[in-house]
Amino acid sequence: MRTITLRPKKAFDIPVEAEIISPDKLAGLSLAQIGSLEAWQGNRTNKLSDLFSVEGDDVPVKPEETTVRLEGDFSRVKRIAENMSEGTVEACGDVGMRAGNGMKGGLLRVQGNADDWLGREMRGGKIVVEGNAGNYAGAGYRGEKCGMRGGEMEISGQAGAYLGEHMCGGSIKVGGDAGDFPGSANQGGIIIIGGSTYLPGAEMTKGAITIRGMVEMLPSYQKMEQVMIEGANFQKYIGDLVENGKGEIYVSNSAQQSP
């Protein structure tokens, strides 16, 4: 097992585009080679070694045997673990926008918070965030028909608005509240929200959303029967009828009243 540790050398004023930080791209390189890779910051490129200190094991291995550890503040470092397919990226603090963008496999663990567009259009693998996630977690890019297509995302804290927008598959679990419009245009993804949310599943055609906290439902959902999930009673809804949808929403009985 090889561990590569990156630490920012300074606080970044202009965000760094760091799609290069992924086991797929770093595993086969020595530390010196890693340091000489380039990353965009604003309209110019920098050597990775000018932006970060690069430490750890020097011997190249396969990506699946590699852990990239990010120590310090990465909240202005974007696109961490983009298109990653194997291995582990472990962030000890916060990460910037679009972490896990288009991820295909492997594990991205964030001990702090993740910014907007976490796991955008992800296809596989797993993302674990111990803090909060921003808006559009698991969503699709503007204009794209499909957001997250596969894989798992676990957010222990809260998620922002438009959680899993345009999702086509995979699952998202949020421990706390989710912002407005989770699962809009959902076409087959599974979303479980531990806390409260507002107007879930707009234009949803397939998939399911479970809400354990308070919720206000859209009027375009049809009330169905009561169901038991893990020993608790839930009210089932079907919709979004605006789109002739067959999506399912389950709302916990214990906290069903609209706010």
Binding site: G140, Y141, R142, G143, E144
Partner: protein
């Protein structure tokens, strides 16, 4: 500049793969020149490519961009010393269009449809497309003034209007899109065929098409009418296509060219009664073109993957959006046109798409005369123009077609005849379809050939026709054509092996036919227009016309009036 020893294809001048030198001076091909030599020994040399039908500028292209921000993620290239950044695949930014055409060895492209009222926007975008020469065809098929002139059988007044509108829009030719159907779409309807009356106007599409064709010839415009048929994109529409072409048989061309150019024929060569029994009628269409001389067509080949359809055919786009559950933009242009845009994906396993793909190729392969078929993808309706080398490889290689067909929906061989076609086009035919014929169809005398006096638009490819067998080495052909070794525009090297070296401003062609219009016709027409602007238009006439400031690099073609026959053959440019 002398381009030395290349294997030259210049079919318009009867040169079919001869080793020869080409001399260039002052942006033109000349008999003799001095200056730097370009060693083209062992290389393929041909005139710069001419795209006669492409949607590269104007409000609908921009609508496509706005609808597809996701498209902007493709084709990203950072700026260089000479280039601005590029984005997009089906709807690239303006600069990228110039760079990509030049890289492929194309030096001229015509925007295929612009409403008069929005022509200012078209020219703003055309001006931002570097390197290539361009022009825009003006839409007439659903215009109130046109329909009223046709109803009154007043071809003189109609000609006056066409000349005025071409000048107003700084347009190059007469484009007709689903005549009458765009007007009917204003009321949520469409016309069902060429003899179906247009609501409120008491004319039929047949009368509109014939009227505009007559006006086009009366004005001696360099291009013929450029027609997008009624019922385009519908199963069984090949009968409409043939019926429409029959209407134009007796009209005499005023120049040595076709009477009608059919846009993206592929979309109008459909058999069957619904999408379930949808099949190719390309053989019937090709047969018609083989037996008649008054019409030319462009392929409108589809390319699998992303496309953004955009057309003045409003009802067609509504149908597309409903059928595919896709994003839809709809637009009405006052007294002139409807329009729409729908992004979509052509899938290999979708039977309808696979058949459409085959139809485009069948049309090109079954039509015997390559001068009658232009190579296009109706960019970006069938797919982006950067795929022309793919289309060429398909036309030149049976093996490539067989390989592709194996990846498609297996019903394709029952619905089309493509599997049974052995013809492989040769270089001469390809150069005609991509260079010589588009220039001839458009009436561009200085384009598409390399004779003395021609524009020095030249593309040089790293490929030796004798050495490479396109039938087998289709991958080499596609690779070489995707990136010219050298592209020369107006005597200047603009691209080398895919790198853009210079970004000169291209010229914009437009046609000023006003001198062919008798004063009396002009006055009657202006009286009509005054009333239209007073009563209906949301703008004043004085704000309507495109000002010269919007076309800073004009190339004005002034057709000589008919009666000065002695001088008529010579164009004033």
């Amino acid at each position: 500049m002398i381009i030395k020893g290349g294997v030259v294809y210049d079919p318009a001048n009867g040169i079919f793969g001869e080793e020869m030198d080409i001399c260039v001076e002052g942006g033109k091909v000349v008999e003799d020149a001095r200056g730097e030599d370009i060693d083209a020994r062992g290389l393929l040399v041909m005139p710069g490519g001419v795209d006669a039908h492409s949607h590269i500028a104007g409000p609908k292209v921009n609508t496509g961009r706005i609808m597809c921000p996701n498209d902007g993620r493709m084709g990203i290239e950072p700026r260089t010393d000479v280039c601005r950044p590029s984005t997009g695949y089906t709807v690239p930014n303006c600069h990228a269009m110039g760079y990509r055409y030049a890289r492929m060895g194309y030096t001229t492209a015509f925007e295929a449809a612009t409403p008069i009222m929005e022509a200012r926007h078209t020219h703003e975008e055309l001006e931002e497309i570097p390197i290539i020469d361009k022009g825009a065809l003006t839409l007439f098929g659903n215009n109130w003034e046109v329909m009223e002139c046709v109803r009154d059988k007043d071809i003189g007044k109609l000609s006056a209007y066409v000349a005025w509108a071409l000048r107003s829009s700084r347009g190059y030719g007469v484009k007709i899109v689903n005549p009458g159907g765009g007007e009917a779409w204003g009321f949520g309807a469409n016309v069902k065929g060429v003899n179906d009356p247009v609501p409120n106007f008491d004319v039929t599409p047949a009368e509109i098409i014939r009227g505009l064709a007559k006006a086009n010839e009366l004005l001696r415009l360099p291009h013929s009418i450029h027609l997008h048929f009624n019922n385009l994109g519908k199963p069984g529409n090949y009968t409409t296509a043939i019926e429409t072409l029959e209407l134009l048989k007796d009209i005499l061309p005023s120049r040595e060219r076709q009477v009608v150019h059919v846009a993206h024929m592929q979309f109008s060569a459909y058999g069957g009664t619904s999408w379930r029994d949808f099949e190719s009628k390309a053989p019937a269409i090709a047969d018609y073109f083989n037996q008649n001389t008054h019409a030319t067509m462009d392929m409108g080949q589809i390319i699998f993957g992303n496309a953004t359809t955009m057309t003045a055919d409003g009802p067609l786009e509504y149908g597309n959006a409903r059928l595919l559950h896709a994003k839809w933009s709809n637009h009405d242009i006052e007294l002139e046109e409807a329009s729409g845009a729908v992004p979509l994906i052509y899938g290999r396993k979708m039977l309808v798409n696979a058949v459409q793909w085959a139809i485009g190729l069948e049309l090109a392969l079954l039509t015997k005369d390559p001068w009658k078929v232009l190579l296009t993808t109706d960019h970006p309706n069938g797919g982006p123009f950067v795929n022309y080398p793919e289309v060429i490889a398909l036309l030149m290689s049976k093996a490539k077609r067989t390989e592709e067909m194996a990846t498609l929906n297996d019903q394709i061989s029952k619905r089309t005849t493509l599997a049974g076609i052995d013809r492989e086009l040769d270089w001469n035919e390809i150069v005609i379809m991509t260079r010589a014929a588009p220039a001839k169809v458009l009436g561009l005398r200085d384009k598409g050939h390399l004779g003395p006096g021609a524009d020095a638009d030249i593309s040089i490819y790293d490929l030796l026709p004798g050495k490479v067998d396109p039938g087998k080495d289709y991958q080499l052909v596609k690779k070489a054509l995707s990136q010219s070794l050298i592209t020369i525009k107006s005597g200047q090297v603009v691209a080398k092996s895919g790198r853009i070296l210079a970004v000169p401003e291209g010229r914009t062609y437009w046609v000023d036919a006003s001198m062919s219009v008798p004063q009396a016709d002009q006055e009657r027409m202006m009286a009509d227009l005054k009333e239209k602007f007073d009563r209906y238009y949301s703008v004043q006439m004085s704000n309507y016309m495109v000002q010269d400031a919007y076309v800073p690099h004009p190339m004005v073609i002034r057709p000589q009036p008919f009666d000065q026959s002695a001088e008529a053959k010579k164009e004033v440019a």
